[in-house]
Amino acid sequence: MNTKARTEIDDYLSRLRHELDDLPAAEVDEVVEDLEPQLVEIAEDGGALADRLGTPAEYARELRAAAGFGTSRSPSWLPRTVFWLLVVSTATAGICGLLSGRIVSVDAGFLLVFLGFTLTVSLVPIALGRPTTSEVAELPGVRRLTSLLTRTENTRRGVAYLTTLQPAWFLVRTFLVWLGLVWLFRDLDLWDAWPEVLATALAVGTPVVGYRARNDRRWLWLSLPLTMWAVGIAFSVLARTEFWSALLGSR
């Protein structure tokens, strides 16, 4: 069996284990032992695992129902709460970005604390794995959103095109985050000589967050607010008259 097929199988099984990680380890081992030969056969025939068996999350759900393991890992309010926490922290980050250029004069420290709070509250359950990101993705509202993006050939192509722009965006975002951090450290009067250095050290980490989010959806809870923050900073830059006069040459 080629390594691509083996990787696919291992990926499927590890995601399945994650979906079942509230069960005793011995039972999960048995479940995997039952399924693996079939995955091997499907992969060797060149088929797609998810086509034949459903996604690991769907498989786990059907298995739980038939085996009597209990149909949901998390209490039903948890995926919904964590989803809205993502919305709040993303929106807050956007506002922070917008205000960091001081269009409106606000105490930067307060904003930072509030953003830190919403981010932490949204990140902790997600990092702990309960709810799983698939539970969030299966929320009716989220499903409707994602189906909107894949409904027609045109929207699918649009999404595919935007995905190709992602590396460029990560580059732009790194710069914007750097800028925002420099402003922030200056506002807070931190590290007199070194705001740029510290900002650089932190900003270069942001593409890592972005790329991690591609495979492990949990990173979205950090990456999306980061993106919205960068967008807010971009707008605040555009709103500064110095920017335009610098661009157009002082008249």
């Binding site: 039972e27 048995e30 479940v31 032992e33 039952d34 399924l35 693996e36 030969p37 079939q38 091997v40 056969e41 034949r52 068996l53 459903g54 769907e58 498989y59 786990a60 759900r61 059907e62 298995l63 739980r64 129902a65 038939a66 085996a67 009597g68 393991f69």
Partner: protein
């Protein structure tokens, strides 16, 4: 009886029956059920049923090593399982007869 309970009971009977003719591993049981005409039943439902029957003590399992492929875990009926099969089959036949009787007037 709730519908899902009813279906669970029916699937139990089908799986027990398949294993009574010959021991089977996971998707071997799936395949035999499909061949018998139960095409709509999902793979995960069959695997889950195997686990539930095993955990309830109706099945034993053993691993058969294989040179060409992965080791396969086979499930087999034990005495408890055979007893459950006999009782469930009897209940099913009574139910099927009753339904035939009901439908006989309209079919």
């Amino acid at each position: 009886m709730e519908l899902s309970q009813l279906l669970k009971g029916v699937l139990d009977l089908a799986v027990l029956s398949v294993l009574s003719t010959e021991d089977g591993y996971g998707y071997d049981v799936v395949r035999r059920l499909r061949q018998a005409g139960l095409t709509e039943v999902g793979d995960a439902s069959v695997y889950g049923t195997l686990r539930r029957l095993y955990n309830a003590g109706a099945l034993t399992s053993y691993v058969q090593p294989s040179e060409e492929g992965p080791h396969r875990k086979y499930y087999a009926l034990n005495d408890v399982g055979r007893q459950q099969l006999a009782e469930s089959a009897k209940t099913w036949r009574e139910f099927a007869d009753a339904m035939s009787g009901l439908l006989g007037g309209t079919a």
